[in-house]
Assembly symmetry: C2
Homo-oligomer: 84 residues x 2
Protein backbone atom coordinates (compact mmCIF):
# COMPACT_ATOMS: atom_id res chain seq x y z
CA UNK A 1 0.00 0.00 0.00
CA UNK A 2 1.49 3.35 -0.99
CA UNK A 3 1.90 6.38 1.29
CA UNK A 4 -0.99 8.37 -0.21
CA UNK A 5 -3.42 5.49 0.34
CA UNK A 6 -2.26 5.06 3.95
CA UNK A 7 -2.66 8.83 4.48
CA UNK A 8 -6.22 8.67 3.13
CA UNK A 9 -7.07 5.70 5.35
CA UNK A 10 -5.68 7.46 8.45
CA UNK A 11 -7.68 10.60 7.54
CA UNK A 12 -10.85 8.54 7.00
CA UNK A 13 -10.37 6.71 10.32
CA UNK A 14 -9.80 9.98 12.24
CA UNK A 15 -12.85 11.60 10.54
CA UNK A 16 -14.94 8.64 11.70
CA UNK A 17 -13.59 8.42 15.26
CA UNK A 18 -14.00 12.21 15.70
CA UNK A 19 -17.73 11.92 16.39
CA UNK A 20 -17.32 9.46 19.29
CA UNK A 21 -16.14 12.05 21.90
CA UNK A 22 -19.17 14.23 21.05
CA UNK A 23 -21.53 11.28 21.53
CA UNK A 24 -19.90 10.48 24.90
CA UNK A 25 -19.89 14.11 26.10
CA UNK A 26 -23.53 14.75 25.18
CA UNK A 27 -24.55 11.39 26.69
CA UNK A 28 -22.82 12.29 29.96
CA UNK A 29 -23.84 15.96 30.25
CA UNK A 30 -27.38 15.51 28.83
CA UNK A 31 -26.89 18.99 27.34
CA UNK A 32 -26.84 19.80 23.63
CA UNK A 33 -27.81 23.48 23.65
CA UNK A 34 -24.59 24.70 22.01
CA UNK A 35 -24.69 22.14 19.20
CA UNK A 36 -26.03 23.55 15.93
CA UNK A 37 -28.91 21.38 14.75
CA UNK A 38 -28.35 22.71 11.21
CA UNK A 39 -24.70 21.61 11.29
CA UNK A 40 -25.46 18.04 12.34
CA UNK A 41 -28.47 17.79 10.04
CA UNK A 42 -26.47 19.02 7.00
CA UNK A 43 -23.65 16.66 7.93
CA UNK A 44 -26.10 13.76 8.30
CA UNK A 45 -27.52 14.50 4.84
CA UNK A 46 -24.03 14.83 3.31
CA UNK A 47 -22.93 11.56 4.95
CA UNK A 48 -26.00 9.75 3.57
CA UNK A 49 -25.05 11.02 0.09
CA UNK A 50 -21.42 9.89 0.61
CA UNK A 51 -22.76 6.47 1.57
CA UNK A 52 -24.82 6.24 -1.64
CA UNK A 53 -21.75 7.46 -3.57
CA UNK A 54 -19.63 4.72 -1.97
CA UNK A 55 -22.28 2.07 -2.64
CA UNK A 56 -22.53 3.10 -6.32
CA UNK A 57 -18.74 2.84 -6.66
CA UNK A 58 -18.57 -0.32 -4.47
CA UNK A 59 -15.84 1.55 -2.54
CA UNK A 60 -15.61 -0.32 0.77
CA UNK A 61 -13.61 2.33 2.74
CA UNK A 62 -16.18 5.03 1.80
CA UNK A 63 -19.07 2.70 2.71
CA UNK A 64 -17.60 1.64 6.09
CA UNK A 65 -16.51 5.17 7.13
CA UNK A 66 -19.74 6.90 6.12
CA UNK A 67 -21.98 4.10 7.39
CA UNK A 68 -20.34 4.43 10.82
CA UNK A 69 -20.44 8.26 10.77
CA UNK A 70 -24.14 8.14 9.79
CA UNK A 71 -24.95 6.08 12.90
CA UNK A 72 -22.92 8.39 15.19
CA UNK A 73 -24.52 11.53 13.67
CA UNK A 74 -27.94 9.90 14.09
CA UNK A 75 -27.21 9.43 17.80
CA UNK A 76 -26.01 13.06 18.16
CA UNK A 77 -29.14 14.36 16.36
CA UNK A 78 -31.32 12.21 18.64
CA UNK A 79 -29.53 13.66 21.69
CA UNK A 80 -29.98 17.18 20.27
CA UNK A 81 -33.72 16.58 19.96
CA UNK A 82 -34.23 15.06 23.43
CA UNK A 83 -31.76 17.15 25.50
CA UNK A 84 -32.22 20.44 23.59
CA UNK B 1 -20.31 14.98 -15.85
CA UNK B 2 -21.84 11.67 -14.75
CA UNK B 3 -24.37 11.18 -11.95
CA UNK B 4 -21.87 9.66 -9.47
CA UNK B 5 -19.52 12.64 -9.86
CA UNK B 6 -22.38 15.12 -9.36
CA UNK B 7 -23.48 13.14 -6.27
CA UNK B 8 -19.93 13.34 -4.87
CA UNK B 9 -19.73 17.08 -5.55
CA UNK B 10 -23.10 17.71 -3.84
CA UNK B 11 -21.96 15.61 -0.85
CA UNK B 12 -18.64 17.50 -0.67
CA UNK B 13 -20.41 20.88 -0.88
CA UNK B 14 -22.89 19.94 1.88
CA UNK B 15 -20.07 18.59 4.08
CA UNK B 16 -18.29 21.92 3.70
CA UNK B 17 -21.34 24.17 4.22
CA UNK B 18 -22.39 22.15 7.30
CA UNK B 19 -19.86 23.91 9.55
CA UNK B 20 -21.14 27.42 8.77
CA UNK B 21 -24.31 27.23 10.98
CA UNK B 22 -22.14 26.09 13.92
CA UNK B 23 -19.77 29.03 13.42
CA UNK B 24 -22.74 31.44 13.29
CA UNK B 25 -24.50 29.92 16.32
CA UNK B 26 -21.38 29.91 18.50
CA UNK B 27 -20.51 33.45 17.37
CA UNK B 28 -23.99 34.66 18.34
CA UNK B 29 -24.44 32.78 21.63
CA UNK B 30 -20.80 33.08 22.78
CA UNK B 31 -21.31 29.64 24.32
CA UNK B 32 -19.43 26.49 23.34
CA UNK B 33 -19.75 24.40 26.51
CA UNK B 34 -21.61 21.52 24.83
CA UNK B 35 -19.15 21.23 21.92
CA UNK B 36 -16.65 18.41 22.36
CA UNK B 37 -13.14 19.83 22.02
CA UNK B 38 -11.89 16.32 21.17
CA UNK B 39 -14.40 16.02 18.31
CA UNK B 40 -13.40 19.29 16.68
CA UNK B 41 -9.70 18.71 17.32
CA UNK B 42 -9.81 15.21 15.76
CA UNK B 43 -11.81 16.58 12.84
CA UNK B 44 -9.32 19.44 12.38
CA UNK B 45 -6.44 16.93 12.30
CA UNK B 46 -8.30 14.65 9.89
CA UNK B 47 -9.14 17.60 7.61
CA UNK B 48 -5.48 18.69 7.58
CA UNK B 49 -4.54 15.14 6.49
CA UNK B 50 -7.27 15.18 3.80
CA UNK B 51 -5.82 18.48 2.57
CA UNK B 52 -2.32 16.96 2.29
CA UNK B 53 -3.90 13.93 0.57
CA UNK B 54 -5.64 16.21 -1.93
CA UNK B 55 -2.45 18.22 -2.53
CA UNK B 56 -0.43 15.05 -3.17
CA UNK B 57 -3.03 13.88 -5.69
CA UNK B 58 -3.54 17.42 -7.11
CA UNK B 59 -7.26 16.77 -6.61
CA UNK B 60 -8.83 20.24 -6.68
CA UNK B 61 -12.25 19.33 -5.17
CA UNK B 62 -10.54 17.66 -2.17
CA UNK B 63 -8.20 20.66 -1.76
CA UNK B 64 -10.97 23.30 -1.98
CA UNK B 65 -13.43 21.42 0.30
CA UNK B 66 -10.88 20.53 2.98
CA UNK B 67 -9.12 23.89 2.82
CA UNK B 68 -12.46 25.60 3.52
CA UNK B 69 -13.45 23.10 6.24
CA UNK B 70 -10.04 23.55 7.91
CA UNK B 71 -10.63 27.33 8.20
CA UNK B 72 -14.18 26.85 9.57
CA UNK B 73 -12.98 24.22 12.09
CA UNK B 74 -10.17 26.55 13.11
CA UNK B 75 -12.75 29.26 13.88
CA UNK B 76 -14.92 26.80 15.88
CA UNK B 77 -11.86 25.59 17.87
CA UNK B 78 -10.91 29.21 18.56
CA UNK B 79 -14.47 29.90 19.80
CA UNK B 80 -14.31 26.75 21.95
CA UNK B 81 -11.12 28.01 23.58
CA UNK B 82 -12.31 31.57 24.23
CA UNK B 83 -15.98 30.95 25.09
CA UNK B 84 -15.48 27.59 26.91
Amino acid sequence: MDFITILGLVAATLSTLAFIPQVIQTWQTKSAKDLSFAMFFLMFTATALWLVYGLMLSALPIIVANGTILVLLGVILYFKLIYK
